[in-house]
Each structure stands twice: as C-alpha cells, then as structure tokens.
C-alpha cells in the first residue's frame, strides 16, 4: 500500500530549491477550506535551472508516470512542456503541472500566491481568492461543485480579518 508522506514531498522539493506553487485541492485545504483530495498539484516554473532542480527532486522521490506500467521517470525534455505530468512518487501522488487553466504559467500566478509555513517548510500556495476565480473560469462540474465551500471559506476569512 502506498504511504503518503506529504511533509517529505514538500521537504524534498524545498531542499532541491524547486520553484513551485501548490495549486488545486491541496492549496484549497492549506488555505483553510474543508476539502479533501487524493493528490498534490504543483505548478512549477519552466526555466532551465528550475527544470534541473525539479528533475533531481522527482528522482529523489522515485517519481514515475502514473498509470504506465513501464515506470518511466520524468526527464528534463518532458518537464520543459507546459502539459500535466501525473506522477506516482514514494511520498504520494503528485501532479506536476507546467501550466493550468489553458496556459497560465508559474510567473502568471506567483503574484497570487501566499507563502505558508507547512511542516517547517516555507511553500508557495495559490491564494484562495485566485483559486476561486480559476475554478469559476474552468466551470467544470467538479470545480463548480467545490465553489460554495471555497467561497464560504473566503467569506469567513474576510469576516475574521
């Protein structure tokens, strides 16, 4: 049975100094929304040095393409693309995203992220407000289904401030 160790996952990414933003369901949860998800989504910066660092981190995590019996690792040429790379790692399922929402890159969203301290690591997490905006824009049934919880969380946070 796979054992998920999200603290280790973040530790390895941080130790390798990968530039990334946590997005998706884990971002929502870290920002305080009562939601659960089955994998971690990260949006990484597509830049030569960062791709090297990301490749090293994925290697340390023994990341291979999910659902592919050949257990293929992710090489730099693959990471250079803006597509979604779905990985299985020894610390849990990890979606490694070059872009989200039809072409938004790391540099487009870094200004909409917060730095949170999580398991002694300082990690960038997409802001709840931006997450809501992106999910509204996607308008897929599963995103729409989650919106009321995210919006309620946003309202509660703003009420507390």
């Amino acid at each position: 049975m796979a054992v998920f160790d999200l603290g280790r996952l973040l530790l390895v990414l941080s130790e390798e100094q990968v530039e990334f933003i946590i997005v998706g369901g884990v971002a929502a949860a870290l920002q305080g929304a009562p939601v659960l998800t089955q994998d971690v989504d990260i949006l990484y910066r597509i830049e030569d040095g960062n791709l090297d660092r990301l490749e090293r981190a994925l290697s340390r995590l023994h990341a291979v393409a999910r659902g592919d019996s050949r257990n293929l690792p992710f090489g730099k040429s693959h990471l250079m693309t803006t597509g979604h790379k779905l990985a299985t790692t020894d610390a849990g399922a990890l979606d490694v995203l070059g872009s989200i929402n039809d072409g938004l890159l790391y540099d487009d969203l870094i200004g909409s992220s917060d730095v949170l301290e999580v398991t002694d690591q300082r990690v960038r997490v997409l802001s709840l407000r931006r997450l809501v905006e992106l999910k509204r824009a996607l308008a897929r049934p599963k995103d729409i289904a989650m919106l009321p919880v995210l919006e309620a969380t946003l309202r509660e946070r703003e009420r507390e401030d």
């Binding site: 054992v3 369901g25 599963k142 309620a152």
Partner: protein
Amino acid sequence: MLSSRTMAVPLSTSLPVPATTDAGKLDYDENGVDLSLVRYSLSLTPTQRLKAVENFMNAMASVRTATQLPAGSTK
C-alpha cells in the same frame, strides 16, 4: 486545474440542511455549506490541514488496497 483523477471532496455538501433544529440557529450558509466545519478548518494551522489531507489520502489508499482496485483508480 485539477487533473481528471483528482477528486476534491467538499466535506459539507454531503450534509443535509435540516429545516429546523431544536439547537437553535442553523450554522449553514445559503448554499448549505456547514460554516462550523469551515471555522474549524480555519482554526487549524497549515501543517495540521496538510496532515488531515494526508490522513484522508492514506485512508483512501487503504480502501483501494483492501478492494484491490488498480493504482490511480478513483472508482
């Protein structure tokens, strides 16, 4: 934004909204979201929130193993 296999689960949407309660004022918003759950989640630290997600992932992995579903399956 989420991959096709990702299933984020809004905890509160599965809860019915009672029409009345003896306990007094309802703590649901107009969409039926349980605000007490939201406030509880907001009271946790980011590390505690991550741990909650991790516990759920491990529970799902246990269920998947017990039912011998292939890795990556969400059904």
